[in-house]
């Protein structure tokens, strides 16, 4: 399965981009500091709002901070929020959706009620209120809030899938063998949902990165933390668009778009595994089929 998964160019490109950003998030700030000697927070009043040049590869912003250093530091912040938000959201979706579908009855009624409740809650306004209420909090809290309010759709999907799998013969057979409930859920049912969960996780990650950017843009974020969202927000506050300081807001925006694209590309690959109908013929097999048809026609 794993090798088949990697043969798709979409998955390769998507994973490549994601890997690049992960590496950037982990090692980037250190590299920028040691190789270029730049500090994302340092205000150099000599160079204010400079366009990209030799000293500052991506220019500087209104406060004389280096945009490249900020983008790299922002990658760490945004990827952290994205991953943590997605982990929290997906974990909650699994812990609530799968048991609901598997156990059914009263457990299902309770958990499903909770899911429906979260499903109809207006999430963004609620995040605004909660984030505003938990004032002065760090980037971790933002990630947790995003995850906590973003699990319901996934739980719904997982519940439906678990419901169908729980009634299959192999689960019955293992139950008859004396396998206990928790193990049945996690060893028999859950592995069938990995494709779905992987795709949900990627979806949640894009969602969390976007949500963080959106919240930061609205000013609900830790102002001292650097993320792509806070960069865009401060660019907006300093009217960077009107003043034509494109190098200030384009790089972080592009990074967000790239992460979204990468997740979507990997998702396509996951979908192709889950639904073979979506699979396109690989170029090699297509060429071989054509050649066979040609020689067959000639003979």
């Amino acid at each position: 399965m794993s090798t088949a998964f990697l043969t798709s160019w979409k998955v390769r490109v998507g994973l490549g981009i994601l890997a690049f950003f992960c590496l950037l998030a982990v090692f980037g700030p250190w590299l920028v500091d040691s190789l270029l000697g730049l500090d994302p927070r340092e205000n150099d009043t000599a160079v204010i709002a400079q366009p990209p040049g030799a000293d500052h590869l991506l220019g500087t912003n209104q406060f004389g901070q280096d945009v490249l250093a900020q983008v790299v530091a922002g990658a760490r912040g945004s990827m952290y929020v994205g991953l943590l938000g997605a982990v929290v959201g997906t974990a909650m979706a699994i812990l609530i959706g799968v048991p609901a579908g598997y156990y059914g009855g009263k457990v299902d009624a309770g958990l499903n009620f909770l899911t429906n409740l979260f499903l109809v809650l207006p999430v963004l306004p609620l995040i605004l209120i909660v984030a505003g209420y938990l004032e002065g909090t760090g980037i971790t809290t933002i990630a947790l809030i995003i995850g906590f309010f973003g699990w319901s759709g996934g739980a719904r999907t997982l519940r439906a899938q678990a419901l169908s799998i729980a009634n299959r013969d192999f689960v019955r057979a293992m139950r008859m063998l004396g396998e206990r409930g928790r193990r049945l859920v996690f060893a028999e049912v859950l592995p069938h949902l990995t494709g779905l969960i992987a795709s949900m996780f990627l979806h949640a990650m894009i969602g969390a990165v976007m949500a963080e950017a959106g919240l930061a843009f609205l000013g609900i974020s830790d102002s001292s933390a650097i993320s792509w969202g806070t960069m865009i927000q401060s660019a907006q506050q300093q009217s960077a668009v009107l003043r034509g300081l494109w190098w200030w807001f384009v790089p972080p925006g592009l990074c967000i778009a790239l992460i979204g694209t990468a997740c979507a590309l990997v998702n396509f690959g996951v979908d192709e595994i889950a639904n073979p109908k979506l699979r396109v013929a690989r170029p090699v097999s297509a060429r071989r089929a054509k050649r066979l048809a040609r020689t067959g026609g000639g003979a």
């Binding site: 299959r168 013969d169 192999f170 057979a173 293992m174 008859m176 063998l177 592995p191 069938h192």
Partner: protein
């Protein structure tokens, strides 16, 4: 029914039954779209008794309640009425009792493609069964036991099969793995819910021989559910026939097949293909085959004998009252009014299809 049990009591004490279903019924409540409920009487007052080293075949057409009965015996459904008795003790519904029950009774599902988790290797399936039921075994002990089990079901060399995923195995091999998994528990009773019906015809015989071997060598009691009377004849010692949720006839296999004492059994036996039957007889034999009718609805079953709308021998009382059970000696019994009315001889003299044609002509002549 209670009178019947009393009749049987002296006989029932002598042989040691390992698993019994006593007068079990299962009614399913189905909720309609408008909130109304209907009751499906899937099984009514069925009695099944299994002896160690004996194979009982449960025969009947689709929808006659065979699988529901097997699932009650496997404790997937709680009987609506009646009781399941294991070694003379009534089994209770709590979870621990259920686990103990399943260490003695295992069900083999009909579909070997559905009863193995496609994500687990053969080794995992057997290993889990051993972990749960033979906790004293060490990892090494389990490994040798897995090899033994695979050899028991003729999957040799065992080492080739332990690391395989279900999709790498054929249907017959999967069903062998399923049987090996059931055997890992070291059960006393195996319930086979049409264990060969999803397999290729070419490997059915091997499967039947495997089941036969388990019976003779390991002394397992086996309930073999099928709609194929030929395989029942090959494998089993006794046959019980079910129709529309009720048992209609039961007895030693040769008696039942050679001289069926219920019109439905006769229909079943005659509708199974027999290569020895001459080609010339075919037209005569199947003359009435297209008017044999269909099994009745279990929501609103026919009154009296449930077979009477399809029965060429039906009498007025058949539609009114359920027929009594008639003992025919040697453990063979049938529930049919023909015996009570002394018309049993008619059954042997004709075929089901011929009787149907004769009845139609008679009715047409009368009208």
């Amino acid at each position: 029914m209670s009178t019947v049990l009393r009749d049987q009591a002296p006989e029932a004490d002598t042989p040691e039954y390992v698993l019994e279903a006593r007068d079990v019924s299962k009614h399913f409540t189905v909720r309609g779209p408008l909130g109304g409920t209907t009751v499906v009487r899937a099984v009514e007052d069925a009695t099944v008794r299994l002896r160690p080293g004996q194979i009982l075949a449960l025969v009947g057409e689709s929808g006659s309640g065979k699988t529901t009965l097997a699932r009650m015996l496997a404790r997937f459904h709680e009987p609506t009425r009646g009781e399941i008795v294991l070694r003379g003790e009534r089994v209770s519904g709590n979870r621990r009792a259920q686990r103990a029950y399943h260490s003695e009774v295992q069900l083999i599902f009909q579909d070997p493609f559905g009863s193995l988790n496609p994500l687990h290797r053969v080794r995992y399936n057997l290993d889990r069964a051993l972990c749960l039921h033979q906790p004293h075994l060490t990892a090494k002990g389990r490994e040798t036991r897995i090899a033994e089990l695979l050899e028991r079901v003729s999957l040799t060399p065992a080492a080739d099969y332990t690391t395989k995923f279900p999709h790498e195995l054929s249907g017959g091999q999967r069903q062998r793995v399923v049987i090996a998994r059931a055997l890992a528990v070291e059960p006393k009773v195996l319930l086979g819910d049409e264990p060969i019906s999803m397999l290729d015809v070419s490997i059915r015989l091997e499967m039947l021989n495997l089941l036969k071997g388990l019976r003779t060598e390991d002394g397992l009691a086996l309930l073999y559910i099928t709609h194929d009377i030929a395989s029942a004849r090959y494998l089993c010692d006794e046959i019980a026939v079910m129709y529309a949720g009720q048992m209609v006839e039961s007895g030693p296999k040769e008696d039942v097949i050679a001289s069926p004492q219920h019109p439905y059994t006769k229909l079943l036996i005659e509708s199974s293909p027999d290569p020895e039957r001459g080609v010339g007889d075919r037209d005569k034999l199947f003359a009435g085959a297209d008017e044999l009718g269909e099994p009745p609805s279990l929501i609103d079953p026919p009154t009296g004998c449930r077979f009477h709308p399809r029965c060429p021998f039906a009498m007025p009382e058949c539609a009114v009252e359920a027929p009594p059970r008639t003992e025919l000696g040697g453990g063979h019994w049938a529930k049919c009014w023909l015996h009570a009315k002394g018309r049993a001889g008619e059954l042997a003299g004709t075929t089901h299809a011929a009787a149907t044609v004769a009845r139609r002509e008679k009715l047409q002549g009368a009208s």
